[in-house]
Subunit: 356 residues, 2 copies
């Protein structure tokens, strides 16, 4: 298995897992097609090895809020402004994955007509992995982009107060024979999950990942989590943290400010904003020529000289494609705590859990 300790994990079939999640959402009054889309996004995250953003969050991020009535199961996205190339949507506190799915679909539809399109969305919720939406462009021979802001957890360079989230950038470009290029990256140096793992393992974190609540660099994962103070990509000013910080603000301008949602400290569930873009490759160049050159670039990168101690150079998305292939065949390894949370969901909703 790719980097996952097997013993304590249960291997779960992705089709059964997707079916369970779909039924859970349907039971919570999410329309069937939307429920299927939301389930596909969560399970795709697990398939691609991004365990933090998949069904592990089904209970805490989605089911709890749907049952409490703090996320709306069924809303029509409201068009606030529209041109042939652009769209401003009010998500009206809908389920984040459903919002993202429909918003990117509309973006692709517009790009089909106009060559390019961009959509910004206010008043949404956590939408899972940004990469999913960027990848929706690929079957249409388009380049896809997806950005989102997120609850505050990252400090500006020289700051001690978290002023923005891990604000990811996802970018997907189609290929011919090689696997598509899929960049899906937080603009912080590491994800929150990295600190949680270090805390569980009782090991220190490297300097440059996080600060304590007073703004001192820390190797204590607990201090970093209490401070909610991850460093932007780059880590320190000396290593370019002002760049990660700048990228995070750029994401918030396109999501939070351009949509009118609000930015940084204002971001929370029901007040989260996204941005999507789609570009037809053939608006610039013949698709086949583009894809052939993409393949060549990917092969050149992989074949280039390795640093001592390394025998492989990866291209963005490559590891995730390998996870996806393996986990589709062998099943998705779920941690006992995740299985337990799915059992809780099953009990709460009455949807039988026929996995594991």
């Amino acid at each position: 298995m790719l980097g996952t300790p097997q013993e304590e994990y249960t291997l779960v079939d992705h089709v059964a897992l997707r079916q369970f999640v779909t039924e859970v959402f349907t039971r919570l009054k999410v329309p069937p097609e939307d429920a299927a889309a939301a389930a596909d996004i969560l399970v795709r995250s697990d398939l691609r090895g991004i365990d933090s953003h998949g069904v592990a969050r089904l209970d805490s991020y989605y089911v709890t809020r749907l049952m409490a009535g703090t996320t709306e199961p069924c809303v029509e996205l409201r068009v606030e402004r529209e041109t042939p190339t652009s769209l401003l949507l009010d998500a009206r506190n809908g389920l984040g994955m459903v919002v993202g799915y429909h918003a990117m679909q509309r973006c692709i539809d517009k790009a089909r007509e106009s060559g390019l399109a961009m959509v910004t969305v206010a008043n949404s919720n956590h939408y899972g992995i940004a990469g999913y939406y960027a990848m929706m462009a690929l079957p249409h021979d388009m380049i896809g982009i997806s950005l989102t802001n997120a609850s505050r957890f990252v400090v500006p360079t020289f700051g001690k107060e978290s002023m923005f989230g891990t604000n990811p950038i996802a970018f997907a470009a189609p290929t011919k024979e090689e696997l598509p290029f899929v960049l899906d990256m937080a603009t912080s140096g590491v994800a929150v999950g990295k600190l949680e793992i270090a805390l569980r393992q009782g090991v220190p974190i490297p300097l440059g990942w996080a600060q304590d609540k007073d703004g001192h660099p820390t190797t204590d994962p607990r201090a970093g989590l209490i401070g909610r103070a991850l460093m932007p990509l780059g880590g320190t000013r000396e290593h370019g943290s002002h760049k990660g910080y700048g990228l995070a603000v750029m994401v918030d301008i396109l999501c939070g400010v351009l949509s009118g949602n609000g930015y940084g400290p204002a971001i929370q569930p029901s007040k989260t904003a996204h941005f999507f873009a789609a570009m037809r490759v053939d608006a610039f160049r013949d698709v086949d020529d583009f894809k052939t050159m993409m393949d060549a670039m990917i092969r050149d990168l992989r074949a280039s000289g390795k640093a001592e101690g390394h025998d492989r150079i990866y291209v963005a998305g490559e590891i995730e494609w390998e996870y996806e292939k393996e986990r589709k065949e062998k099943g998705i390894p779920l941690h006992p705590l995740v299985i337990a949370s799915l059992k809780t969901v099953s009990e709460k909703t009455g949807v039988p859990l026929k996995i594991g």
Copy 2:
């Protein structure tokens, strides 16, 4: 002065400097309007404190090539493909700044009609600071983006062979009373110039900036320069270098692959590619509302809690705006070596140097 030692530098008036550079380009058969645009881009770089990309390179990057006939002084950009929102241009080995200026101007013109536009450009040359072109969108109440690939100087994560350039990302968004947000960043951790400065000063560089030619992390600036092996933003895999690497490849996809120019190792003078985008703010939201929220965000960031030992939090572009204000008033401090190179240019071209 902002961080520049004064003694040995000559303060030069920006108007006189721009005039000199304009005349030099005109003398080398660049049409007068193009010469003025190219001069403005170089001098703007010096005004904004980006001394590495300004007139310091006039001789080595531009004049030498124009005089040798290896860069074309006067070419019409050739339209290879065009839609109302997109444009593929062949720069036909034109002067990079002139190419960038006209390409971004056309991008803005298209965005005025269509809401959004993107332009990709093949067969160009080094175009100076990426930020200039992104900023061209600001007076039109548009968001501007400018990307370029560059000669190889950066290695992939786990690699030892430079496979792409410092591939910068520039993004500019308009504001109301605050200074515009202008992110202009290499996707490497540091610029080549940082190693050159360390070498001159005889000091080691921090680990994470560069590798030697065998792929070992190095603190020796000379080894990093010989290896042409800067690290992507993030520095090490542990600190997220795969993200800087991914961003650099994203830039090359939009520049080198989408334009058909070629990518990474193929990039050199006359074979450099750019990408531009412009977005009307009012395609999404009323301009005044957007700008008011931009101001609020910038003020919130500046007012947020400072880490111990720091009394100021900067927003992208802020330092450059301060440089620009100060240097417009007091002059641009030019190093004796830069003055000497301008004298060489003066002798070569016969344009009198009436500065310093």
